[in-house]
Subunit: 348 residues, 2 copies
Amino acid sequence: MTQQRKKPSKAPANVTSHDVAKAAGVSQSVVSRAFSANGKIAPETRKRVLGVAQDLGYHPNAFARSLVQQRTRIVGVLIARLDNHLYPKVLDAFTAQLWAAGRQVMYFNVDDGGDIDKVLRTALQYRVEAMVVASITLSSHMAEVFCDAGIPVVLFNRYLDDPNVHAVSCDNVAGGRMVADAFLDAGHTRFAFIGGHPDTSTNHDRKGGFMTRLKERGAALSYALEKDYSYDWGRNAAHHLLSQKGPPDALFCASDLIALGALDTARAECGLRVPEDVAIVGFDDIEAASWQSYALTTVQQPVDLMLAETLAVILHKDSQPKRVTVPVTFVERGTTRPRVPSGEVVAL
Amino acid sequence: MTQQRKKPSKAPANVTSHDVAKAAGVSQSVVSRAFSANGKIAPETRKRVLGVAQDLGYHPNAFARSLVQQRTRIVGVLIARLDNHLYPKVLDAFTAQLWAAGRQVMYFNVDDGGDIDKVLRTALQYRVEAMVVASITLSSHMAEVFCDAGIPVVLFNRYLDDPNVHAVSCDNVAGGRMVADAFLDAGHTRFAFIGGHPDTSTNHDRKGGFMTRLKERGAALSYALEKDYSYDWGRNAAHHLLSQKGPPDALFCASDLIALGALDTARAECGLRVPEDVAIVGFDDIEAASWQSYALTTVQQPVDLMLAETLAVILHKDSQPKRVTVPVTFVERGTTRPRVPSGEVVAL
DNA sequence: CTGAAAGCGCTAACAC
DNA sequence: GTGTTAGCGCTTTCAG
């Protein structure tokens, strides 16, 4: 004979632990204990309280709890925009792992010209326990504010010469160098770089590594165009580059999205064969890079590793701000030519 | 002579309004007023207080405020996963618009087999003022719980025959019908449907509209395979379908991602020409659908409209739960053949 | 315009 | 085990 639980036809907006206490004939603190894992309470009392609570539609108020515990369990995540296909994956994995660690994610983004500082100040008001910032840079002023507040900030895929912030990124310089080597080894001679936002450290480092390595091996970058990380920009830039006289025969794009646009334009608009006429390499290794129509050669960012490092900082509240750089992998697919052992070429 | 503001080398973790009050020589409530837009306070007092607050690194505690105001300004967003390329865009637009309306987003996701109810209960504890749930369905029990708590739930791209939840989706049935018409008008005869998760309303409605319309015009669906909304599934299903005897000559895929996989397989693995040998249509109109290598014909979901409807519900706390269905658009690109005016074909 | 006081709903000692 | 109590940091009457 289970008794039908009575349910108020219209719950009075906010049921509090007091209401539950009264209905269950216990004190309010017993209700509190019933909901806390290690609260000293008789098993049967807890059971009864929990039952009453459910009947009444009671849910502990996390705001009240956080206030007294001085602990919100909220982590702020700020991503400029999710339009780089890598970030949705990052956000999802991140959210899932934080959830597993009992944390909630407060998600922020900023549209172009948006006030980043205002966003960060809001995060501060919600007392986030950590803040991860991706694809965007914060002012060193705000970095200091967070530092003063004792809230760790970790820059994802970006860094700042600021002792107050953590930064985890992949080895963008090494990635650029790998691409240079691949091009050189395959016998290319005219190199171009299609970049993303010119004032991002990722863009800067990828280009830097590329150029440096070219130079080290006696070659040089012929063209460099930079604007943003979009497919459309890849198309425009490639069109411009490939339709001129003495076009490049090797294109390094600062992101896969750019590379995909460049690839489409090279083939469809310029009637070029890839990689026979022009080789194209991207950066990131987003899902679409492996799609059959593209089979894009690219530099893979080890997202999982970067995530793990970020979580380590956040969850263990790592002592000193540290700058982590994880290694990248060159993924050869169909948009680059096979390498010619350079020894043999030079031998004569 | 601007005076250098003193900054404590190490702020004592939490600066409260009391600290500011003391330092500014005012009462705590004045500090509170200084930070509230319509607080009655002398302009110069406010200025001074704000100055002191900044020096001390004070940030109002949103938790304390929410507690007393009974208002968190947090909206919960639960998306199964961001792997449908439409959702990152949705989340971003949504976050931006909520931000403009002074709301924060608490983001949740559930991995396969995850406990949705637990997620929702957590959202309840954080007193979200509204909950939007995308690409996933909640139990009618939780729908009731939210209803009792007076928190509007809006299902995005899904619906439930539950009087307690709002639902906004596009006209999936009409979309399916449009595809049937396009295929029929172009003279196709053997139709296949590659679906996503079989137990989703979107999948059901798209397929339903497609089948119904075929039947209405005297045709029939030859094959239907359903599994999930991924590129890989599109590849596998298409491979299976197209490599058998009497293969379909028209493929309707329940999402663009599936269609892209099918398209790649049809061309690269099966050596088929699209649309000459087989026509392929997707659903969603994600960015990649318009990429030159694909030029996928698809049914476009008016994301902006759906977003606007969702926001209307949340921000205006719309009275009665309502079910909104917005119209879709058929976008003809390169994976379908031109239509033959049906009158002429049948005329003889 | 400013200050004092009463909670918002909860946890965490502290007694019993 | 359970009840009592004192706040967590803030907004909001209500006096002055």
